[in-house]
């Protein structure tokens, strides 16, 4: 075995005394500069060596002390080391200060429910008086039978008959949009759908961007549900961005009669709200729904936050790109097309 023997080091340095090892950190730098030629590629530039690093970045990482000032209270993403006042980060993210509350918001994390969140979820289990709903949180959320609009009137009392036919409202696999009503001690959420905005979802497609970080991908915004007037004869398409990173894109269905009397709406509830049957959806609408889906996927890939503004812009750009490539009107926005769309989005913002 051929070994190139490099010039031996001076004899004095040949045997590093063993008790010396503990201080080796101190000589580390000198050691490294000695053999600068052997610089490890994995080593980051010296300026960013932690010992010398000025904490100019806003990123804080687990184990890092946020403050040792005892006037702050610790919030999410931090802990206080036993027998000290130091508040230490437990996640990698940015510091957030709310009054005297200090918390670290992770760069990315699973969705943690908060009261008032609009979420899209999927029924995973039907129990006698409630449903268990996957909302992408650490544990399933609950939707009590008492927290939905029952057919035949908003104010109607729930009866045993309703309990027996609980599956006629929601059954396993059904998708719904709901609001977080309350939180339990273990962090699990209780949902409600007691508004016409909420309820069962149909006539569309489901997407999950929770991989890009629930809180990070979809942000809590003023408007999470809106309508896009699509191009190409697709008509109106609804977009629902669940704060939990679950997204629903569907054909817009006009509530029958528009703003007629409330009693009419109630009747409406009974007939269609819990239907699992899709309406007639034209090919054009389907194309545009798919295009919006692709747009969102593209934004996720590019690490752009998902909100009404970015989606609308990107959608317009995508429509523009599609009109250039007439005849190849697939909604697919991978590769080159995606780059063009993103360039357009960048220009307009």
């Amino acid at each position: 075995m051929a070994i190139t023997i490099l010039a031996p080091a001076p004899a004095a340095a040949a045997l590093p005394p063993r008790d010396h090892v503990r201080d080796s950190n101190d000589d580390d730098d000198s050691d490294n500069s000695d053999n600068g030629g052997v610089n490890l590629q994995g080593d980051f530039d010296k300026g960013s060596r932690p010992a010398k690093r000025a904490r100019h970045t806003d990123i804080i990482t687990p184990g890092e002390t946020v403050t040792d000032d005892s006037q702050w209270m610790r919030g999410h993403g931090t802990y206080i080391a036993p027998a000290s006042t130091e508040i230490i980060a437990t996640v990698a993210g940015t510091v957030q200060k709310t009054n005297k509350l200090l918390s670290v918001r992770p760069l990315r994390a699973r969705y943690t429910p908060e009261i008032g969140d609009l979420v899209v979820g999927r029924i995973v289990e039907v129990q006698s008086k409630r449903w268990r709903v996957d909302v992408g949180a650490p544990v399933f959320a609950g939707l009590p039978l008492s927290a939905i609009n029952l057919p035949g009137g908003i104010l109607r009392k729930r009866t045993e008959t309703d309990e027996l036919q609980i599956r006629t409202f929601f059954s396993e696999g059904d998708l719904l949009v709901a609001e977080v009503q309350s939180l339990h001690q273990d962090g699990s959420a209780s949902l409600h759908t007691r508004s016409l905005k909420f309820g069962k979802l149909r006539n569309g497609i489901f997407m999950s961007v929770s991989g890009m970080g629930g809180g990070g991908g979809v942000v809590r915004a003023k408007r999470q549900v809106w309508m896009i007037h699509t191009a190409g004869g697709g008509g109106e398409v609804d977009v629902i961005l669940g704060v939990n990173g679950y997204i629903w894109i569907s054909k817009h269905i006009e509530a029958a009669g528009g703003d007629t009397a409330i009693t009419r709406i109630e009747e409406k509830i009974s007939s269609t709200v819990y239907s699992s049957q899709n309406d007639e959806i034209s090919v054009e609408t389907r194309t545009e729904i798919a295009r919006i889906g692709s747009v969102i996927q593209l934004l996720v890939q590019e690490g752009v936050k998902i909100e009404e503004e970015t989606i609308s812009k990107a959608y317009e750009a995508a429509v523009g790109v599609a009109s250039l490539n007439q005849g190849e009107g697939s909604g697919y926005l991978g590769g080159e097309l995606g780059r063009i769309v993103m360039a357009d989005v960048g220009k307009s913002s």
Partner: protein, 250 residues
């Protein structure tokens, strides 16, 4: 094939040209897999591992109802080693590593924040060249940070060896940091993992015979190696964080 260690005392360089206290090249990436809650890819020299974290998600609390369970899966690819041997599911060495990783993070993560749920850590070994357990622990730490699961501090790991085997009572033996496969086969070594680059040792595994007196030196080098690894991993996380901030996702 026995490893020729005789040249070490001449040049004080190891066969791959490193000094006694030098780590191999460590490169790592996080958020490598968008569909997982957290993911990482880590290379320590030619040891390459992939880690994905899913969760915390529903179902769990079997050990303790007030905490999340941690489930670890470890798959060692048949092509990862020299002998291309398939590692079965029932392999005790694998079970031991799985149990070590599970137990390490069970006392590092704040699992009490996620009662009745499970955190899945799935590890894939693509290539093995020594310090496997250390690489797995490091990759898991990164993926767990990426998943935003609260932890006390980084768990970082490295290996340390000694330049002469147990039989030769060589007083002048040097400790070595971060062993590769051929060094592991020939020399006594240990794997050590510490919390946050401190002297707090979470994992200490040694499977070879060595004089007790040599332990201190090896442990000190190993602990120091963990400290260095922590800085490298921390830089990876910070770099990634900066990018995320730049793209305006937060």
């Amino acid at each position: 094939m026995p490893l020729d260690t005789s040249s070490y005392s001449l040049a004080l360089l190891r066969l791959d040209g490193r000094r006694w206290n030098e780590l191999r090249r460590i490169t790592a990436q996080i958020s490598t897999m968008p569909s997982a809650d957290g993911s990482s890819y880590l290379e320590m020299g030619n040891t390459k591992v992939l880690c994905t974290v899913t969760g915390p998600c529903e179902g769990g609390g079997t050990r303790d109802r007030d905490r999340a369970d941690i489930r670890v899966e470890l798959a060692i690819a048949g092509f990862s080693g020299v002998d291309r041997k398939r590692v079965g599911r029932g392999d005790k060495r694998v079970s031991e590593m799985v149990s070590t990783i599970q137990s390490t993070f069970a006392s590092t993560l704040f699992t009490n924040l996620y009662p009745q749920s499970t955190i899945h850590i799935s590890l894939h070994v693509l290539s093995q060249d020594g310090s496997l357990l250390a690489a797995l622990l490091n990759a898991s730490t990164l993926a767990l940070i990426d998943a935003g699961i609260p932890m006390r501090d980084y768990i970082t790991a490295s290996t340390a060896g000694s330049t002469s085997s147990y039989s030769s009572n060589d007083e002048s033996a040097d400790p070595l940091l971060d062993l590769n496969t051929s060094e592991e086969q020939e020399l006594p070594f240990l794997t050590v993992a510490t919390l946050g680059g401190s002297d707090q040792v979470s994992v200490l595994v040694m499977e070879t015979r060595v004089q007790a007196g040599r332990l201190e030196g090896m442990l000190a080098v190993g602990v120091d190696g963990c400290k260095q690894v922590r800085e490298i991993l921390d830089d990876v996380v910070r770099e990634h964080g900066k990018e995320v901030l730049k793209s305006g996702r937060l």
